[in-house]
Symmetry: C2
Subunit: 233 residues, 2 copies
């Protein structure tokens, strides 16, 4: 029996041209796939159509993987892959399995000896890190910062400490509507001469990736409200 | 005066078709650039020619940034950018400033108010992480593992601890000719049921990205000698 492959298909991270962030081969790859695991079916259909308008959307079987998916459903998703059918995994934005829970499917694929092939695309985390000027030879992505005031301040201090002592760049984020609040907390908590990178609309028309000392950000605060941001210290 | 832009231009990570890993827009971007900062001029010329054979290599000024570059030279590199000329930064493989020291130039660019634009391309670290099935919501890249026996074993134990306690995937590497030795050390040091991802020739013809428990790797060791690998626990 033919061994199936699970292709990890990148999605856009801004309102931009497909050709500026997605290698052209991916357009051809998706045409051959009849099974997709996606975060949201409507979004995925729209994205696939944009990726390649010759795709026959109605011949595709979609499985939805998000916070509503039950654990026992997940193990059934790859049933068709075990029969030899190739699959695609798409997240709502950026690279599947980076800053999203898609890795449960990939873990399952390894257990079932299904080949996993990652495809190249945009990631706000890695693009921000590249362009930050901060250390890219040792870094950590910490996901979302805590909401509760004390935990939040403690975490900010811990990240700054790690960045200095372990020489490890610390990447983190918050829910977009709290970003101005986070920037205020960072300015009040971090040392005045700590370098902070703020990045938003990465790969988009209003791309902003700027690294400044805290004393500089204090004098000139950008409005981050409702803008998905990446922060790096 | 026109503000200059420093474009971070991805390079290949395997012997593969440009179109399978580099978005097509990058071919057009490089045509307009007359100044490049690169790790190795000969390699960079060859890559640019491959990227777009209409490029006029002889009209380009190259600056070499590697272990032989003196610190005072680096600050002169962006002189032409300060006059308004756009620059490209290319590393020998993958994304500039990720697992390479290119960030010194980017840091300087931020200081001089030069815009930094990161472009999408392949990274063995992120492709391995995506396809590993391990946690992509919290992870750290630790660079090279220590060479000296005691430090090495201590580091391996520390990485496993961090992976479990902080639920943070730990990515690391070694010099390719030591990879079989590293695999032996990992098998002897990590818990038998720890999951280890081994990845090599990522995006290449013989791509290998496999996650197994230590007890499984022990029974079936791949030959990693001289293959650049990414390891994740």
């Amino acid at each position: 029996m033919k061994t199936a492959t699970l292709f990890l298909i990148p999605n856009l991270i801004s309102d931009t041209e497909i050709n500026s962030v997605i290698p052209i081969i991916i357009k051809d790859k998706v045409i051959d796939l009849k099974f997709f695991i996606v975060e949201n079916i409507r979004e995925a259909r729209r994205y696939l159509k944009k990726l390649n308008n010759e795709i026959d959307i109605n011949s595709i079987t979609f499985f939805e993987l998000n916070q509503h998916t039950k654990e026992n459903e997940i193990s059934d998703f790859l049933y068709e892959a075990e029969k030899g059918n190739n699959f695609g995994l798409i997240s709502d934005a950026g690279l599947p399995c980076i800053a999203d829970p898609g890795n449960v499917i990939v873990k399952l694929a390894h257990e079932k000896n299904i080949k996993v092939v990652p495809l190249v695309g945009p990631s706000s985390i890695f693009l921000a890190l590249m362009a930050s000027g901060l250390n890219g030879q040792n870094f950590a992505f910490n996901g979302y910062i805590p909401i509760e005031k004390n935990d939040r301040i403690k975490k900010i201090k811990l990240l700054e400490q790690k960045s200095v002592k372990e020489k490890q760049s610390q990447i983190f984020m918050d829910t977009p509507y709290r970003n101005n609040k986070l920037l205020a907390d960072l300015i009040n908590t971090l040392n005045f001469d700590t370098l902070l990178c703020i990045a938003f609309d990465i790969s988009g028309e209003n791309e902003f990736i700027v690294t400044r000392h805290i004393f500089e950000w204090k004098k000139n605060k950008p409005d981050l409200n409702k803008k998905p941001c990446i922060f790096i210290v």
